[in-house]
Amino acid sequence: MRIEGKGHIDRAQPIEFHFGGEKYSGFQGDTLASALLANDVHLVGRSFKYHRPRGILTAGSEEPNALVTIGEGAEREPNVRATMQELYAGLQATPQNAWPSLKYDLLSMNDALAPFLSAGFYYKTFMWPKSFWEKVYEPFIRNAAGLGALSGAHNPDTYARAFAHCDVLVIGGGPAGLRAARVAADAGLDVILADEGWELGGQLLSDSAEIEGQLAGDWAASEAQALSEMENVRVMTRTTITGAYDGGTFGAIEKRGTHLANPKGALECFWRITSKRAILCAGALERPIAFTDNDRPGIMNAGAVKTYLNRFGVSPGQSIAVFGNNDNAHQTARELIAAGVKVAAVIDSRTQAQVNVDAPVFTGSRVIGSKGRLRVREIAIETDGETRSLEVDCLAVSGGWNPTVHLTCHMNARPVWEPSIHCFVPLEGAVPGLMVAGAAAGIFSTHGCLQSGGRVAATVARDLGKSPEDPKTPHSQNQSYGIEPLWDAGGTKGPWGRAWLDFQNDVTTKDVRQAAKENYASVEHMKRYTTQGMATDQGKNSNVGALAILADATGRGIPETGTTTFRPPYSPVAIAAMGAGAQGKGFAPQRFTTSHTATVARGAPMIEAGLWYRPSFYPEVGETHWRESCDREVNLVRNAVGVCDVSTLGKIDFQGPDAASFLDFIYCNTFSTLKVGKVRYGLMLREDGHVMDDGTIARLGEQHYVMTTTTAAAGQVMKHLEFVHQCLRPELDVSFISVTEQWAQFAVAGPQSRRLLNTLLDEQINDADLPYMSCGEIGVSGVAGRLFRISFSGEHAYEVAVPARFGDSLFRLLVAQAEALGGCAYGMEALNVMRIEKGFITHAEIHGRTTAFDIGMDRMVSQKKDCVGNTMSRRPGLLDDTREQLVGFKPKGHAQKLSAGAHLYNDGASPVAENDQGYVTSVAYSPSLETDIGLGFLKGGRARIGETMRVVDALRGIDGIVEICGPVFLDPEGDRLRG
């Protein structure tokens, strides 16, 4: 029911929306909850477990009941709190957890079974037979219980992630927060003021109180305006601070588009805010009182009723009773009366209460029950030893207020019990750099909040080296509170007498007492046994009430019972927001070589090698299978010439007087003896003596080397080099830097390689000047480049490098010239085939568990000098002849496939782990040998050349026979390399 003349809504802007298929109307400035209440809709959902009808309880983010799904299709968003959802034109809201409809929910039969479904029911009941849990019970329970569901479709909404920095983060924009922000900002500090609502003011927006002679809401609006005009203040509305983390960092979720019919840009933004200091002004949350059937729609928190009246101009009923244990509840009654709403009764549990309200008053009395199927129709009041019933359509309840201590728990502190106001207050110093002001600190009057906000901010400003003026607290009222505890007002005894604590997880006082009875007496055990506080609202309304019941049941006091704590996030955050930008292309950076464009234009399928994109093969017209292309490329390289981009290999430039000594220490073989203009293969070990990486090292000058690493290990090697230089050999005068990105480098391989290069080089090369394993600087079509005569294919081959800006141009020229010579560009598949044919290793072989001994290179581990891993590599176990050693394989018999990952067994042995003799690491079809070939490791393998083994790939179902051979299949003498 709308009340004329009340509220901050814009009555000139009516808005139509849908709830549960029905069309309703509200106003700009309404929440979905306030608009529903204005339309006299209280029933908004069904409860989690018993499917009980539930209504709107609160007016804030703590709402346990009014969870709805907003929108339709892929974009729909479940579990949105109707109390936080701003109304917009065409909004579609759907109730959750009800079928076929809210009013007739089939699973409400659960409620009839309630005596059997108490706490611990699942643990006790669904134990047998064991296999039924996963297959029958759990799916059924999950289907019956639960709240909203995601659409299951790809979410088309966009989200963002961002960082912000400030001197002072003020969390909450109520009276304390507004004051704190103002005082901190006036002192010259950089301030971020964040509030979960769209309007600053917090409780002031719900009040008819006055500040400095202005209506509280108007004062808040003018303060908000003043703050928004200050250069050093950033006001972030619709922004919930969700978590407190190390180093003054806070998580925050900003809702940007959820209040709009047609949101543009990011729907939500997840912020990480780093602050020097934070002031928590998050206010307080009202708690209900437990009594039989206190969960009926129409039974609401008293503060929420006041909010709906003052902020939204809505009375949630026509005849309202108010029930409380504190003075604050009376204000709701007074304001309802002032607005012309009938207050049927004020029931105050305190016998000495002074109730200054013009309505029937029952002191020393309690509400002990309610009636009404889908909405409260009648309440039962126990007064003077007798029970009276009273017809009402709304009951406003206040069991007192709990400071919003949540963020102070995020770094493991537990709040402390404050007996004077019967609630937990934040522990001082709970979060380093965070101070608490206002209701969050247990100060429940407007004047006290304003004063506390200003004072705390002044303290913070002084801490940060500012000299704030002594803050003058704006004049306002100092309301009384006078709470006396009342947790369980009682009611019907027996199985049907249930008084609700946690509305969202359907936990009753009986469940808590049951837990205590079964010796789940610790508050943490009770929580897990009953699921109290484990729903999406984290028990914001109910935790304190539940542990008070537990304290009573176990005969301890509340401080001795203690409290559970809270974890981030304060309120639910979409995972999509935290992971914003990391979908699709945002998942990881893409690294493209300079030949990428030309390669893609040739239709080459690209594969990822780390972050790099490299071509698998270059298909020719008419080729239908990758093997066709690969075989052709191998044949053309072996018989003419091929070109391949090898820029992705790590390239590291070394300079300095001690460059040679440093490399001698890094590699197991020696580089100080390498002559200028020469290249040598190098193997580097880890500290534990196993192989880390391999590559070639070219000596460009006396004090100048260029190392190559494998593509995959480039980053790891760079880290290793930094470690060795900074920690192990800091005395060496050497500097090194990655030049991977500086040079575009192409392999030119095959018998025609020199002829090809000579068409593009500024000076002609010949075998005498540039023999195998030599290098030099050379002009490449007018550009200063480098040429290395090295080979990973086994052919007479070169690698030519030019500054990356010329990479695209050179690649195109090389390929064109290669094609003119009957050759081609080749990709990773052909590269891999050729290196296997030559027995060259990659990280498939040096996979982290193999040593130089295992791969047959132990002679490279020079014993004339020290190097990283040298000593450890001499351990006898690493030089044992029975170790798995690198060998080659050929299938015996025709048409047999080899597969990488297959294991080796002695011929005739059964293929079980105990009989394992080794494994296959790399396989290829060799077009040169016209057979499958493979590399791998075999126990004592070097002494078993010629043996026949059984090879079994259990995953692919391959079982065959192979012959063990040496790892070099082609040109073992290396004539082609030198040719």
Partner: protein, 178 residues
């Protein structure tokens, strides 16, 4: 005689125009890494001063001006941006050409810090990150170098191979600006 054609790292991807942000690729400049030899920092700084008019920058600082600037570029590394390095520098430092190793973009406009807030955890408020400040940092998920060259102009560098990702992520950040 064939001549190789040079392509800049962000060729065809520029410029990017947004609300309060303009991004463009400058002409390819000479980038030289200077790594001082043992104990030669002061001598290198003096040589840099006399040859190019700027001292060796301290960590997270840039020296020089547009056209010739030196950026702190990590432990024991300075990046000289602009001039061909003077031969005198080689006495005190290892010099490495990095001109082609980095994609380098200029960003200008009042909203650049706001846009970058979607990409880096650095505090870029005027008082914390002043003109002449530089950082090796994370930009989205790329290793990057970021320099504030004036109140409203910035220079950003990422590995040349990541130019397309940088452009993609900058556009995404611009789209995220409210």
């Amino acid at each position: 005689m064939v001549k190789l054609i040079a392509r800049s790292a962000a060729l065809g991807l520029m410029p990017i125009e947004g609300d309060g942000v303009t991004i463009a690729e400058p002409h390819m400049a000479v980038l030289t890494s200077l790594a001082p030899l043992r104990g030669q920092e002061a001598a290198l700084s003096a040589a840099l001063e006399s040859a190019h008019g700027m001292a060796l920058p301290k960590p997270n600082r840039a020296t020089g001006a547009n056209g010739a600037r030196a950026l702190w570029f990590g432990r024991a590394h300075t990046l000289l941006v602009g001039p061909d390095p003077d031969a005198s520098l080689t006495r005190f430092a290892a010099l490495t050409d990095q001109s082609d190793a980095w994609a380098r973009l200029m960003m200008a406009g009042p909203r650049v810090p706001e846009m970058l807030a979607y990409m880096t955890p650095l505090d870029l408020r005027e008082a914390s990150f002043k003109p002449g400040h530089t950082a090796r940092t994370e930009l989205s998920h790329m290793p990057a170098s970021l320099t504030r060259t004036s109140a409203e102009t910035w220079e950003v560098m990422v590995f040349r191979s990541m130019a397309q990702t940088l452009v993609h992520d900058l556009k995404q950040a611009l789209d995220a600006l409210p």
